[in-house]
Symmetry: C2
Subunit: 139 residues, 2 copies
Amino acid sequence: MLPGSRKGFVLDPRLEGESLPVVWLGLCELRIRDERRWPWLLLIPQRPGVEEVHDLTPLDQAMLSFETNLVSKTLKELTGCTKINCAALGNIVRQLHVHVVARNENDPGWPGPVWGHGVREPYRREDLHQFAEKIRARL
Amino acid sequence: MLPGSRKGFVLDPRLEGESLPVVWLGLCELRIRDERRWPWLLLIPQRPGVEEVHDLTPLDQAMLSFETNLVSKTLKELTGCTKINCAALGNIVRQLHVHVVARNENDPGWPGPVWGHGVREPYRREDLHQFAEKIRARL
């Protein structure tokens, strides 16, 4: 199988269970994390078996950078947040995924990181869908 | 001033005070964070006034992606770590900087994030310089 192919890609069930699909980009599926404490998006490159950004093909690395920065700019404009936090960690879920989170002074855990901070608080279902719609409209 | 110029760039004193320069890349200065609990590198694009990756020019965004992934691959090969953690946060120091950290199961805070975890533990000076030399030799 070519390393730049999505054949055989299956979304990790932990990512799937705690997020909602928003839109397909060129390389990634964009999802919202169902966590109302912070506006939080996830980009998941549709490539099976990849854990590190540097293990993507050079073209895919460029695509991921482009798509991440597009999503980052969109989320900052939509929310008017103080700072975007962007990260590829993967200590728990190894399937490659990039977090793009809108942070504000006085949000939970500020200025610390969001990962591992307290317990996830899901949206009301209608609010989650409304957020997804707002993102789609701006992309 | 052109947005792609390094004219007027001054390294944030908090970044400078807690890290050692390793090498100049095309866009970024690569530095080691003086924190021996985790192998921790910083890339700092030499562009004044930029806080978000998406505010770099398109060329600089591509360069940052290339340099970050090169450093990530190098650090993983050098350390044989379990996972690279890569992030642009900037909640405290706003000057754009990208963290590339080597993580291992059972390291301090695993699998949580490194930011805000306990108190920084500086290297012995000779160990810090030795680490810098190892990185330079592989880049």
